[in-house]
């Protein structure tokens, strides 16, 4: 079973995405802040990480940077899932190594799941 780590501080999103991906046959690990997210990524070595950018303790950019610096986690694809949509944010996330960048307000649940499937295959 493929494993997905979802780093997001909003419980409602954890629930909707987590349960939907669970139904699709993925094992979903949840982290509610950046620090926990990075630790879980190292411990669990998931097949994919969904990452919010505005997070308590350690923001998404920092997490992304650390993930890509660490040899244990640098190969895990990361989808950024956020509501920040300034060009500077998108560019920074892509430069840091994000595989895909989705703006929450513009995507339906179904489209997010499709994107996950595309990358994880």
């Amino acid at each position: 079973m493929k494993k997905i780590l979802f780093i997001e501080d909003e419980a409602a999103l954890q629930k909707s995405i987590g349960l939907t991906l669970g139904q699709e046959g993925y094992e979903v690990k949840a982290a509610l802040n950046g620090e926990e997210g990075f630790k879980l990524a190292k411990a669990e070595h998931p097949d994919l990480i969904l990452l919010d950018l505005i997070l308590p303790r350690k923001d998404g950019f920092e997490v992304l940077e650390e993930l890509k610096k660490d040899s244990a986690t640098q190969d895990i694809p990361v989808i950024v899932l956020t509501n920040l949509e300034g060009m500077e944010h998108i560019e920074r996330a892509v430069e840091l190594g994000a595989q895909s960048y989705l703006v929450k307000a513009n995507y339906s649940l179904e489209e997010v799941v499709r994107k996950v499937k595309e990358i994880i295959k």
């Binding site: 909003e10 409602a12 999103l13 629930k15 909707s16 509501n83 929450k104 339906s108 649940l109």
Partner: protein
């Protein structure tokens, strides 16, 4: 570096742009003009007074008097404009903060609703399923409005950043019309799409074009007065793609036609038939089309219907 930044803030053009007003309404610029005016008035008063009065004390008094009056008037005008400019800046900042804060809970709601009405968790009664659909539609409407407000802010700051996607306009239009099928059915409105075969894909910002077409289709349905037919036609005209929508709705009164692209403007008859509407749709629609290198127009007759069209350049990007 710090000194550099200070000089930067002395640059009137940059400063005025941050207030989002023209040069002649920009407080720092007006201040400069008034300074110049005051100095010239002093010199002129000196010249005139010197010719007519012998007593230098009287001349000095006159100059002081004129200068004081000018300073007071100038101060009043400039500070008035400054308050206005500041209010407009605060307003746009306020809109931006509120909209961003609204987007997060709204998208959480959207996904939770989508999860609950998803096929694999279908413990819903058919009534609750349709309630869920309604909730979903309301939620999407709110998200759209919030997005629209953010886009308006960006347009006004002239910081639209366009993406480039290769778009099949016919397919996009069909998808959007499908999304409106529930609304159209509930209003007894039929939508026909006709398109030339072999239309080329065009290179535009797909999300923005999506908003444009959504707006025009939504308007056509809303103002169709409960029944009627809407036709959409897509064709190639030279190096442009022409997209046209035609409805048999309430139309736009002649008197108000030149105002319909203004921000927050709603035609009087439109507000009577359809209370829902922000008056932002057409403003943003035209701004997007123009930003993408196209143009748009319309013709309309009251009680007969409206025709809206836009042109987008066909750019072959290989």
């Amino acid at each position: 570096m710090i000194i550099d930044k200070r000089y930067f803030s002395l640059n009137l053009f940059v400063l005025c742009k941050s207030y989002r007003v023209g040069l002649w309404q920009c407080p720092p610029f007006l201040f400069l003009i008034f300074g110049f005016l005051t100095v010239s008035a002093m010199v002129a008063t000196y010249g005139i007074a010197n010719r007519y009065f012998e007593d230098p004390r009287l001349v000095a008094l006159l100059i002081i008097g004129v200068t004081t009056i000018l300073l007071i008037i100038g101060f009043a005008i400039v500070s008035g404009f400054e308050r206005l400019a500041e209010a407009s800046r605060l307003k746009s900042e306020f809109v931006s903060i509120v909209s961003h804060q609204l987007r997060t809970p709204l998208s959480s709601m959207r996904w939770l609703i989508e999860f609950m009405s998803g096929s694999k968790s279908s413990a819903l009664s058919s009534e609750n399923r349709s309630n869920m659909e309604m909730l979903h539609e309301i939620n999407i409407r709110m998200l759209r409005l919030v997005n629209l407000l953010l886009e308006v802010n960006q347009v006004e700051d002239s910081r639209i950043v366009l993406e480039k996607n290769s778009v099949d306009v016919k397919y996009l239009t069909e998808e959007i019309v499908r999304g409106f099928s529930v609304l159209a059915r509930s209003r007894n409105v039929k939508i026909n799409i006709s398109a030339e075969t072999d239309l080329p894909k065009i290179s535009v910002d797909q999300r923005r074009l999506n908003m444009v077409i959504e707006n025009l289709v939504d308007n056509a349905i809303q103002y169709s007065l409960g029944e009627g037919e809407i036709s959409i036609n897509i064709e190639r005209q030279g190096n442009y793609l022409k997209w046209l929508i035609y409805d048999h709705g309430v139309g736009i009164p002649k008197m108000e036609q030149k105002k319909i692209f203004e921000k927050f403007f709603r035609a009087r008859n439109a507000a009577r038939f359809q209370t829902r509407g922000s008056g932002l749709g057409l403003f943003i629609t035209r701004a997007f089309i123009e930003a993408m290198g196209g143009s748009m127009g319309f013709s309309s007759e009251e009680k007969k219907g409206s025709k809206f069209w836009f042109f987008l350049p066909i750019i072959n990007e290989k």
